[in-house]
Symmetry: C2
Subunit: 254 residues, 2 copies
Amino acid sequence: MKGKLVLVPNTLDLGTDCEVDLREVLPQAVIERAAKLAYWATENAKTTRALLKRVDRLVPLALPLQQIQITELPRPAKGGAVARGASPDLKPLLAPALAGHDLGLLSEAGLPAVADPGAALVQAAHAMGIVVEPLAGPSSLLLALAASGLNGQSFAFVGYLPVDTASRAARIRELDALSRRLGQTQIAIETPYRNDALLGALAEHLQPGTRLAIASGLTLPAGRCETRTAQQWRSTPGPALGGRLPAVFLWLAA
Amino acid sequence: MKGKLVLVPNTLDLGTDCEVDLREVLPQAVIERAAKLAYWATENAKTTRALLKRVDRLVPLALPLQQIQITELPRPAKGGAVARGASPDLKPLLAPALAGHDLGLLSEAGLPAVADPGAALVQAAHAMGIVVEPLAGPSSLLLALAASGLNGQSFAFVGYLPVDTASRAARIRELDALSRRLGQTQIAIETPYRNDALLGALAEHLQPGTRLAIASGLTLPAGRCETRTAQQWRSTPGPALGGRLPAVFLWLAA
């Protein structure tokens, strides 16, 4: 009897100055389930241990932290391009499930395997006949979409935009045209220290009437979401996002 | 001082034979917040009262249910095409927030304003300077994406496919080609009683090597997610989805 691959949602406060109460963002049953798992596959063992300590304060861990096996996923870094071609052998990571133990998959933020490298492990689990069970939890992308008031019936997540100025401008214009043609909300993310640069580029290169929403720090006390036209962002930029809060950028052409 | 528009997530069990414990899918703080709200804008007053009764069993409501004001959003029905042009006046719905009270927005399932008509109210709130606060909760679309093992770094939600057989086949081929060109996971939903028909059409019209995932009843005991190639779905269809469980369909071309 195989164990399951359990997709465990994380909080959205990593790298911020704020540590939210887990009960603000995770269902009680998810916290209890996390406290029971003895095997984990994660992006980062250190932040996983930090989360498990927070779990332990609410629901005592079934095993001492030192006895919980945490194995890191192979890189690339979160949000990088999907590796095509040669992929690492993920079977060793799934060994606990093959041996009958439930195995938790955890991302650095929100749902694992969304906007991070975890999908390859989920794919490998399906290929090996391991049942995949996703636990309910927050996704910053969809919280941002809900809060934006933009079209929630047709949307696309496009990941990171190019860093190079000219390529980024071209990509913004391309995605603005796509949004207009399909009536589709476009969703992008950025490394926090580049948030203000991306906001500036979007305000500059989107058509003036395109509605642009910035959601930052959602689920945190500092969380906010503002939706204005690109023209309005240009004329009244508002306070800087700063380099600490995770942000989600969304736009819908008029 | 205006109140906020609070986006309250719902469970994913509407219309199924199963009523999950709210603590499986909603954070404790969200249940507590819902128990305090005296004003709601929702798709359906009856199902909203049913949810509030479930809340009340865990956290007593601040007001008797009869005194809680529940106002229904104007149609169109959930998931229908986005109305363009003439839009109803939503200001009366936002009157409680303008008068200083927090106002809850609730969908029939999952996050409000995603794959439902709530976005127009959120847009109106932004236009009137009402702060929008999304509370953490599940989205069946992203739980399905996480569980599918398909590309979680580039994906699009396309809503419902056409019902007409020929139009649906053409749309499936179009979205398969788009998925191949962009490496983008395509996500669609269907009214439950048509789930098996859609699965059959996808298995028939997607390219044989396209990976197709069906996630049904996620967060319910009967929940499952299977990912196989269209060719495999054709040759071994597996048990019928039946007409009761909500399902999400996802595919990624090879």
